[in-house]
Amino acid sequence: MSCTTNQVAAGNMTWFCCGNAWGPCGSAGHGACGTCNSGSHQCAWPNISDACVAITRPQDCGISLGRYGCGHGFYVVNKCNSSCVFVTVADCGPDNEQLLRQFTSCGSFGGRNRIVDLTASAWVGHRQPEQRDPPLHRPQLGGAMNELDRRQFLTRAALGSATAVSATALGPLVPLAQGADGPVIAPVNGLDPNFFEGRIVGIDGSTLVVTSDSYLIRRIQVTNGTEIWKLRDTTFDQIVVNDRLYARGVVTDSGDFVAQSVWVNIVNLHVEISSIRSDRLLLNHVNGPLVGHLVADTVAAYNVGPETRDLSRLRPGLHVQMIGAWHPDTNEIDIARIYAPI
């Protein structure tokens, strides 16, 4: 079994938290196998036992998934960028009440059902790049609630007589569910209400005005406590219009999103080094050639070793993973970290 052989299933993947706190995850239970931790490369699989299948019921969605018990290893391939991660089964899930029958596509590949959940660290990639990194392979799941609300909004805009409406008229897209311990944010058809991504189209004081596929427009409040990453930990004044934003935070009653962490233009790429210059790497990516700029604090990690500023072991033909920041609307990135399997 490898990243390219013996495919056992195809569909959508998402991520989840379990066990000890790690990165974006707080503490949670250790899952059905008792071994699950967000910081380990593990997954939840819908058929680890009879009791598990009785909960997840993939057959209700017309899919048959083989039985792979606790500790079984999978290579999970992201069809959007060909990245591959090895994970072991550590929990039962996801169940069909959550995201089955959602359709996502990437090029010629399309997946209709959510068949595997990765732990947060497995989702981020082959290694733990940094505890604050967001879920970089987050699939673009078109939540039905969002789509419905957007359609209703646009239908009213087309047929109504209003000349202006509040931008939050699209919502409330994030209903509050009353839990035993007080109000909690409930996921809406798989869209994580505490995660938001989009393109910055305006800056209003300390608020970012962001457009996205799910929300036509949304205001993202940045506070003194918001952690901001743009190639490195940085400050609000480094954010500019047209940057791409990924944010984790909470939603207020007004519909504004208050960010706890913001990652700007962040990318996580699997590439082949085609050429090396003193100040940049020329890269081959599945979507075309890229230019990776080396900056003062670019570091590399060789063969799961510690990070170093010594880039001398990089060579043309080497396949590496890179984390960096896009130059929006170009094929260029600034490289923060390089992970090389040598």
Partner: protein, 100 residues
Amino acid sequence: MAAWGLDADDLKAVVGTVKRSPAYRAICRELQVRCPRDVWIEDRKGFVHFDGGGAGPVPAWFVFAVDLDAREVVAARRLEPDDKGHEIRIMEVQPAPVPA
């Protein structure tokens, strides 16, 4: 091939009608892509949503409504956010003049 959950005939009736309209001709150069973002039908009216604002950072969206029985565009609106993101302005799309 059908998309957005519509069959090919409905899709053609909705999108084809929009793309032949003077209102679409008036805005098509402002679109990021000519392919609609979304198409749906409600109460015998078809709706098409396009993403605009491709030339600059400020987004715009266009929504067209088509009467499926009459096969004609009954509404065409342009939506733009204000610069603070508080409001979305809704404006009528003025049809392009018919070529002489």
